[in-house]
């Protein structure tokens, strides 16, 4: 299984991921229609893309009163079935990441569906803040950075 890995340190807050998400899913450009949201703190240059992490034990599935939240077996994405969703927003409240968003016109919740296995946001992100990689490689980048720090320290001894 693959997952979207987020490295906030690299994000420049350009919102291209929001635009490509809303354009490909909703045929219109707006951050309110996007399943990924970039939160910003510009005074310290911190930008954090928030997207559904498709938890192993998704609380949104447990809490959904109509059973609309379910996992798609092909991609492993946890999505909302629009026909069953009643818009009660339980998944919004229970999500530890705050990832689900409320569609302003259909009044249903929506989360990342991994674009059927080819997430466009990871393709459009040119700074490498978002990438679609195997789950076991998600922490690889952190390990590599840590390894380099360690290496430098050893060299300078």
């Amino acid at each position: 299984m693959s997952a979207i890995s987020v490295i906030p340190e690299r994000c420049t807050g350009c919102q291209a991921c929001e635009m490509v998400c809303s354009l490909s899913h909703e045929d219109a450009c707006s951050s309110s229609l996007s399943r990924i949201r970039v939160k910003k703190w510009e005074e310290i240059s911190l930008f954090i893309p928030i997207v559904c992490q498709n938890c192993e034990k998704p609380p949104c599935v447990d809490v959904c009163p109509t059973g609309a939240r379910r996992r798609v077996s092909e991609t492993g994405a946890v999505v909302t079935d629009e026909k069953q969703c009643v818009g009660c927003k339980s998944c919004l409240y229970v999500c530890p990441n705050g990832a689900p968003v409320f569609h302003p016109s259909t009044k249903r919740t929506m989360t990342c569906d991994l674009c059927k296995g080819r997430p466009l946001c990871t393709e459009i992100c040119t700074v490498g803040a978002l990438s679609y990689i195997r789950e076991r490689d998600v922490s690889m980048e952190k390990k590599r950075v840590y390894g380099q720090v360690f290496l430098q320290a050893m060299k300078s001894r």
């Binding site: 340190e9 420049t12 807050g13 350009c14 919102q15 291209a16 635009m19 490509v20 809303s22 354009l23 490909s24 909703e26 045929d27 219109a28 450009c29 707006s30 951050s31 309110s32 229609l33 970039v38 939160k39 910003k40 703190w41 510009e42 005074e43 310290i44 240059s45 466009l120 393709e123 459009i124 040119t126 700074v127």
Partner: protein, 503 residues
């Protein structure tokens, strides 16, 4: 139904505290397109002669293009126009500002926003998805730009809103004051800070999330992805991406050193840029930009958000300051006080050389005479100018553009002129395809060229009316040799466009 554009103009009267929407017809949009074109059209229809920049009726117009706020790469720019206080007699001035303001404006559901009038007390505008509110800004008056931005965002309990504000320099109506957006971007060479200060408008806080509908969304998505890919592969853009504007900057610096302008010293300039490089902490980019040429600076535990290297150059070697730390301090002062770095630089350079004394009082001169470090001297002089309250400055006009056709072309579509300039592969046909997919309006290259010429003509007439308002004689058309390089290059290998048009 209008696609790509929104077909609305937001008119705001600060005196009456009223805001209303006006329709912009499809014909007008197709004739003037957007950005700079829409602004030129507004001014030419509403003004027969220039008005005083300090008068309430002097409008400040913001406009965006049909691709702003969409996925189109590098389309985050905003065009701004007004009668500028920087010259006497006042003339029509225009500028452009990178960042996110344009995208938010489009998200509010308007193509153009025109501010007129004058508030009777300090206010700020809160534009929330089409609802405009005039709110008290007494508590913000006197605050620096960073604090203003953060305070407004905290007040609205949404850190994702965009803020455009002036600093104390704008409040004191210093002619070269500027607006600051996202603590980083500015609209230069227009005296915007002064205009906001005169109108007693401290800030514009904006949240725009309305969907922008497109003529052919699927095609648009594909074109954007293709273009993004091509931009990524372009060698010049890769250079811009990796080094920010620094490689271009040092080249500019080298030519200046060779030409001997400004008495630059090569070795020191190199040291200066090496120091700045060590302080770069992260990148910043405009809305949907794949290049991210801006750099953030972290120095001594404090962030100098968004340093634009050409601005740093103007506040460094250009004014004789070869100490990187003082450059950063000067840059930070400009940013927090809301000053135009280019105009500040030209003023400081003259003062440092000793050819200009007017902005300083005799007391100021006595106090700064003995300071030996040029960086410290420039910093203290600038502080004294801000607090001095003098209004007479001799400020230069914007340096002539290398290619005004190309700049105008970029500006009417609200594209990034920097990327357009450094790009060889992004041709006019890419833009035409994108515009077609967004708006459903197919432009030929000739249409585009005529449009650019027409806009330049109207602008030139608007600017000349300061000299003689009755002169309506036709202005000379730009010669064929002046036609933009990109248009000519496109003409040489335009097979793809021709094929597509026939099919």
């Amino acid at each position: 139904m209008i696609k790509g554009w929104t077909g609305k103009r937001l008119r705001i009267d600060l005196s009456l505290q009223k805001a209303w929407l006006e329709d912009i017809s499809q014909e007008v949009l197709r004739q003037w397109f957007g950005g700079r074109g829409l602004n030129a059209s507004f001014f030419s229809t509403h003004f027969q002669s220039p008005v005083s920049p300090s008068s309430p009726e002097n409008p400040v117009a913001f406009a965006v293009g049909p691709l702003t706020g969409t996925l189109a790469p590098c389309s985050g720019w905003t065009s701004i126009a007004s009668f500028s206080p920087l010259s006497t007699p006042p003339i029509y001035g225009f500028t452009w500002m990178p960042g996110y303001f344009g995208a938010s404006l489009k998200g509010v559901g308007v193509d153009q926003c025109v501010l007129q009038g004058k508030a009777d007390r300090p206010i700020y505008l809160w534009i929330d998805d089409g609802e405009v509110r005039f709110e008290e800004a007494g508590h913000l008056w006197g605050k620096e730009t960073t604090e203003t931005t953060i305070t407004l965002q905290e007040e609205k309990e949404d850190r994702n809103i965009e803020v455009l504000c002036i600093g104390p320099a704008g409040e004191r109506q210093i002619p070269f004051a500027n607006v600051i957006h996202r603590l980083s971007w500015t609209g230069d060479y227009l005296g915007l800070g002064y205009l906001f200060g005169i109108k007693q408008l401290k800030a514009i806080a904006i949240r725009g999330k309305k969907p922008i509908t497109l003529h052919d969304p699927k095609q648009f998505l594909n074109l954007c992805l293709n273009l993004e890919d091509r931009i990524q592969k372009d060698r010049k853009v890769q250079k811009l991406k990796q080094g920010g504007k620094l490689p271009f900057l040092s080249r500019e610096g080298e030519t200046m050193i060779k030409e001997g302008t400004g008495g630059l010293r090569a070795g020191l300039a190199k040291q200066w840029s090496a120091f700045l490089k060590t302080c770069v902490s992260s990148r910043e980019g405009c809305f949907t930009c794949p290049v991210n040429c801006g750099r953030n600076i972290q120095h001594q535990e404090s962030y100098f958000r968004g340093i634009h290297l050409e601005k740093a150059w103007h506040l460094g070697p250009q004014v004789g300051v070869y100490n990187g730390e003082w450059t950063l301090k000067l840059h930070h002062l400009c940013q927090s006080q809301g000053l135009d770095p280019f105009l500040t630089s030209s003023l400081l350079a003259k003062i440092m050389k000793g050819s200009e004394y007017a902005p300083l009082s005799e007391e100021d001169l006595r106090q700064t005479e003995h300071i030996e470090d040029p960086g410290e001297k420039a910093f203290i002089i600038l502080q004294r100018i801000i607090n001095g309250g003098r209004k007479e400055f001799h400020l230069p006009a914007r340096p002539a553009s290398e290619n005004k056709h190309l700049d105008a072309l970029a500006d009417i579509i609200s594209f990034c002129p920097i990327v357009v300039k450094h790009l060889t592969q992004r041709t006019v046909s890419n833009m035409i395809d994108l515009i077609y997919a967004a708006t459903g309006y197919f432009l030929s290259k000739e249409d585009l060229r005529d449009m650019v010429r027409n806009i330049l003509r109207v602008e030139s007439r608007l600017q000349n009316m300061g000299l003689d308002a009755n002169d309506h004689s036709p202005l000379p058309l730009p010669g064929e040799s002046q036609t933009s390089e990109i248009l000519r290059r496109e003409e040489r290998n335009n097979e793809s466009t021709a094929q597509r048009t026939t099919s």
